[in-house]
Amino acid sequence: MNIGLEAIEYVLPNTRRDLTELEAVGALETSADRLREFGFEYAFMSEEDAFGLAARATAALLQKHDIEPEKIDALFFAGAIASSHSIDASQEFLSAFNYPACKLQYDFGLLNATVAGISQTGCMGMMTAVKCAADFLAAGNAENALCVSADVFPPRAKREVIYNLISDGACAVLVRKNGSRNFLRAHRHITKGYYWDCVARRNEIIAAYFPTACNIIRETLAKARTNLDELAWVIPHNVSRRSWEILLGLLGISRERLFDENISAIGHIIAADNFINLKDAADRGKINRGDKLLLFNFGFGANWGCMLLEH
C-alpha cells in the first residue's frame, strides 16, 4: 500500500524581522551575532491567531489541489503550544473546548472527516499527525487524511527557544492512500519520559538530542533497508544549522545533502518545518522522482521522530 504525502501548502505571516531588529526589541536570549553564527537570520511574526493561519493553509491546500472537502476522511490538527488548541478562550470554562480542529471541519465542510488534535509532542506535532494519518489510512477504507498545524507565539514572548529562532506559521498536508508521491517508507518515533521537565532537564535534553537522533535515524533507515548513502536529501526541522552540522558529522552524511535554505530564511516554524521544507525543496526542483528523503524532528515531550519518504 503506497501511502504518501500528496500535497503540501503553508502560510507565513506578513511580518518578518531580522535578528538585529529582534535583538533591539529584546526578543532574543542569545546575541544576534551568535544566532547568526548558528545559521539564523529571519523570523516571521503573526498578528493573526493560530486558527487564522491554519484556516488559510487549509484553504490553500483544498483550492490549489482541487480537493473535495467531503472526500477528506480524517483531520488531524497539531499544535505545539497550548494556546494553539483553543479559539477565543475566555474566562468561560467551556471556551477551553473551542477546538480549532472542530471549527476547521465545519468551516471547510469536511463532513466525513473524523477529527482529532495532537498537542503533546511539541515540535513533533505535525510529524505525529502525518503518522497518525498514515496509520488511519492503512487501517481501513479511508483514502484521504488532512493534517494541519499552526502555532503563534504570544505577542510578547521571546523569539528564541534553546538557541533556536522561532517563527509563527501554519502548514497543511494531504496524506493519501495510493497517492502519487512522497511515499512513506518508514517511520520511527521515540519518547523519553525522563526529559519531561523541559526547564530542569534543559541541558540534558541538549546532550541527549544527538545520540538519540543518531539512533532513531539509523533505526528508521534499517526498517526501510536503506543505507545512508542512498539518501538524496535530508529535510530538516529548522533548528540551528550548527546542530545539523554536528548531527550530520555524527552520522557521516555530507552537509551538501541537507536542505538548509529555510533555516536562515524562515527560522524554526515549530511543528511544520519538515513539511514546509519538503514543499520548497520540491518546488525549487531539488528533488527528483524516486529520491529518498530523510525527515528528522525533535519535539519537547520529549520526542524524537524520523520519516523516510520516497518522492
Partner: protein
C-alpha cells in the same frame, strides 16, 4: 634504603609510601609534600614540607643519607595550561634533580611519568621510545614528555629509571577511587545523560590500570628490580579494552547496580571523528551553559587521545616483574568493581548546582 618520595601527599604518593613502609629493605622514608595530610603512623616515615616548584632546601643530614628518590610529584590535571604543567613537571623535576645531584650516596632515582608522552602518535608504543613530532592532546602530556627529555639530557649522571603510568582507574580489590580523574568524570556524565559523544571508534583501545598494581609494580621495580637507564610501561598493555566494549561494560554496570537507571533511557555516547567532537565542544563553549560546559570539560582534554589509536608495549616491565608476586589484575574483571564503587559513592560528590541530577 633511605628513600625520599616527592608528591607524598598526592593520591599515588600516599599509596606508594604506605606500600613501601613495610618493606624490610627500607629503613626510612622522607615523605615530601606541600601539606602534611598524611595519616601514617610508622616511625619510619618523616614528613618534609616542601614545594618542588621552589628551590628545594633539603636539610644536609637528609641529603647525605638518601640512597633513593622516587619523584611522584606532578601536575596531573589534563586541563592545566602548558605553562602551569611545565612549572611543576619540568621545573619541579629540575629542582629534584638538583637535589639528587648533591646526594653522595644516591644509587637510584625513580621518576613517574605517563604512557601519554606518546601524545598523538599512533600504533605500537615501545618502552624505549620517546622522541616524536606527532604533537600532544594536552599540556600534561607535553610537559611530561619534556620532563623525560630533561632527564635524558640533564640527568645522565644519575641512575634514573622512568615509570610511565597508564590512567589509574581504581583499586582492583575494593574498587576504591582515591582521586577521581577525567575518566571517572566522563563515566559520571554518561551516567547522568551528559555525554553525547566521544571521539574515537569502537575499536579505540582504552588503557586503564589498577592503583594497587601500579603501586606494587613501581615499588617492586624501584626496590628489587632497579635498572638504571630503563623506562617501564606500567599499563594495561594487551589487556586494554576497546572503547565500545568499555562503554557497554559501563552501561551494564549502571543497569546492574541501579536497575531504575533503565527508566532514563540514556543513550550510549556516539563515537565520532575528532572534527565533529570539536565542533560540538565549540558550540557548547559559545552557548555558555555551565552544566554543559562542565561535561565537555570532562572529556575535551583527554578524550581526543582516543582518536589516535595506539597500543602500549610493556615487555620490559613484564619481564622485570616476572617471578615476583606482582601480577597485573585483569581490567575487564575489576572495571565493574570500580564503577560500582563510584555509583555507590555518588561519584564522589554532587554533579553541579546548575544541573539538579537526581541520585539513583
Amino acid at each position: 634504603m633511605i628513600l625520599l618520595v616527592t608528591g607524598a601527599s598526592g593520591a599515588f604518593g600516599q599509596g606508594i609510601v604506605r606500600a613501601l613502609v613495610d618493606c624490610d629493605d627500607i629503613e626510612k622514608i622522607y615523605a615530601l609534600g606541600r601539606r602534611n595530610g598524611l595519616d601514617f603512623t610508622s616511625s619510619k616515615i618523616e614528613f618534609v614540607a616542601a614545594d618542588i616548584t621552589s628551590k628545594l632546601t633539603i636539610p644536609d643530614k637528609i641529603r647525605r643519607e638518601l640512597t633513593a628518590i622516587l619523584h611522584a610529584a606532578a601536575e596531573t590535571r589534563f586541563s592545566a595550561p602548558l605553562d602551569a604543567a611545565r612549572r611543576v613537571n619540568v621545573d619541579g623535576l629540575a629542582n629534584i634533580v638538583d637535589v639528587a645531584s648533591r646526594c653522595p650516596r644516591l644509587n637510584r632515582f625513580g621518576c613517574l611519568s605517563t604512557i601519554y608522552v606518546a601524545g598523538k602518535r599512533t600504533g605500537r608504543i615501545s618502552e624505549n621510545e620517546l622522541e616524536h613530532m606527532a604533537g600532544f592532546v594536552n599540556g600534561y602530556e607535553q610537559s611530561k614528555f619534556e620532563a623525560e627529555q630533561f632527564l635524558h639530557r640533564k640527568a645522565a649522571h644519575l641512575p634514573v629509571t622512568i615509570y610511565r603510568l597508564s590512567t589509574i582507574f581504581g583499586d582492583s580489590r575494593t574498587g576504591e577511587v582515591v582521586k577521581a580523574g577525567a575518566i571517572h568524570q566522563a563515566l559520571r556524565f554518561f551516567y547522568h545523560s551528559f555525554l553525547p559523544m566521544v571521539p574515537g571508534t569502537a575499536k579505540s583501545l582504552v588503557d586503564l590500570v589498577s592503583s594497587d598494581y601500579a603501586i606494587a609494580a613501581v615499588g617492586r621495580l624501584l626496590c628489587d628490580q632497579f635498572e638504571p637507564g630503563k623506562t617501564f610501561h606500567v599499563c594495561a598493555a594487551s589487556d586494554a579494552i576497546p572503547l565500545g566494549e568499555l562503554l557497554n561494560a559501563a552501561r551494564e554496570c549502571f543497569l546492574h547496580n541501579r536497575p531504575e537507571w533503565r527508566k532514563r533511557a540514556i543513550e550510549m555516547p556516539e563515537l565520532v571523528e575528532l572534527e565533529t567532537f570539536e565542533l560540538f565542544v565549540q558550540s557548547v563553549e559559545e552557548i555558555g551553559s555551565p552544566a554543559l560546559q562542565q561535561s565537555v570539560n570532562a572529556t575535551k582534554y583527554f578524550a581526543p587521545q582516543l582518536a589516535y589509536p595506539k597500543t602500549f608495549d610493556d615487555s620490559d616491565c613484564a619481564r622485570a616483574l616476572a617471578g615476583s608476586a606482582v601480577e597485573r589484575p585483569v581490567l575487564r574483571d575489576f572495571f565493574p568493581r570500580v564503577v560500582k564503587y563510584l555509583i555507590n559513592e555518588n561519584w564522589r560528590g554532587p554533579l553541579d548546582d546548575t544541573s539538579p541530577c537526581e541520585r539513583i
